[in-house]
Symmetry: C2
Subunit: 198 residues, 2 copies
């Protein structure tokens, strides 16, 4: 609930207002569906607040998230709410002018840009979609991610999605939700369909 | 993955294409965050397909989901994607011309409208937000909901969110995701904040 009472009040010398405004690191993980969709749902709230939003899509296929991307682009360009910038690894990041040799290199390039944007306070909400995988595979150093996020300036919220979130990331996050698959249409022999899966 | 292979292929006489297009009943439940945000994220995909979307917000407070509502209204009115109709119990349903005596009556009125819309095939995606509660509390008969959904005509997808989803509903659903709370900012003594919680 928006106005719920916290279970404990920490002895951190902050007022409730200050504590409330602390930037959030959220992780959506687990084998179930809804990790990314919930992150994009969160982006709707950030947009409504007028916050600049940066999406970094750490997935190979440029076809994924077509619905979410189009919706957030229309919202960002609507003149209401906040602006939206959408970066796709699958098409080669827009700021990279050369061909990248591997997905590993592409993932590292993405993280370098996130670091630059965090330092410059470019966005108020970062959606790092499927960013757990480059960490899980060792392409991006988890400890560096955790340290960079801990030291990020200002009030920049970060949501990271994907399975296999590394333990130090979960430790560092204030909000961790695990999506558990209870039942899935593919178990019933159905393939994914437009409008539902993408 | 959109193009993943199902584990089994049922002997139901349907082609893959027919099976793929079967209408989906999805339930997002569990104590964690992201149940509703994932449903609204799903609505972005439906909007991108041009599908008419009906949101029924079965919550008392009209203040909730303000970000999601504004975003989906802007999208629905953008001239791109599908149209969006947003119904709120918290302000009294728009089609009800009198004061309702109780939340129970209001919830029943909401369900009656959903039934009418399903019969008329008004929408292609229904988001029944927090609709598990009226069922859990016995205000709306779960068996009737399950029966009505089983008999709904055409290709109408339904997503139901909320904790305490009744067992027969989970049984009837093709997609069930449980959101588990691993860690929450309130545990750290933080209250909710704009742009994140609403």
């Amino acid at each position: 609930m928006p106005q719920g009472q916290p279970a404990t009040v920490p002895d951190d010398g902050l007022t409730t207002r200050q504590r409330r405004r602390q930037p959030l690191l959220a992780v959506h993980t687990g084998p179930g569906k809804g990790k990314s969709t919930a992150a994009f749902g969160l982006a709707l709230r950030a947009w409504n607040q007028g916050w600049p939003i940066g999406v970094f899509q750490f997935v190979k296929s440029a076809k994924w998230r077509v619905g979410e991307e189009r919706a957030l682009r229309v919202l960002g360009d609507s003149g209401e709410g906040g602006p939206v910038t959408w970066h796709k690894m699958g098409e080669g990041w827009s700021w990279v002018q050369r061909d990248m040799e591997s997905s590993e290199e592409a993932a590292r390039e993405g993280w370098e840009q996130v670091k630059r944007d965090l330092a410059a306070e470019t966005y108020r909400l970062y959606v790092l979609d499927e960013f757990t995988y480059p960490m899980h595979w060792g392409w991006v150093d988890t400890d560096e991610v955790v340290r960079t996020l801990a030291e990020r300036p200002g009030s920049q919220h970060v949501v990271i999605t994907g399975r296999n979130a590394p333990a130090p990331l979960l430790e560092a996050a204030e909000l961790v939700t695990e999506m558990t698959k209870v039942k899935h249409p593919m178990d019933l022999g159905r393939k994914g369909q437009a409008g539902i899966e993408w």
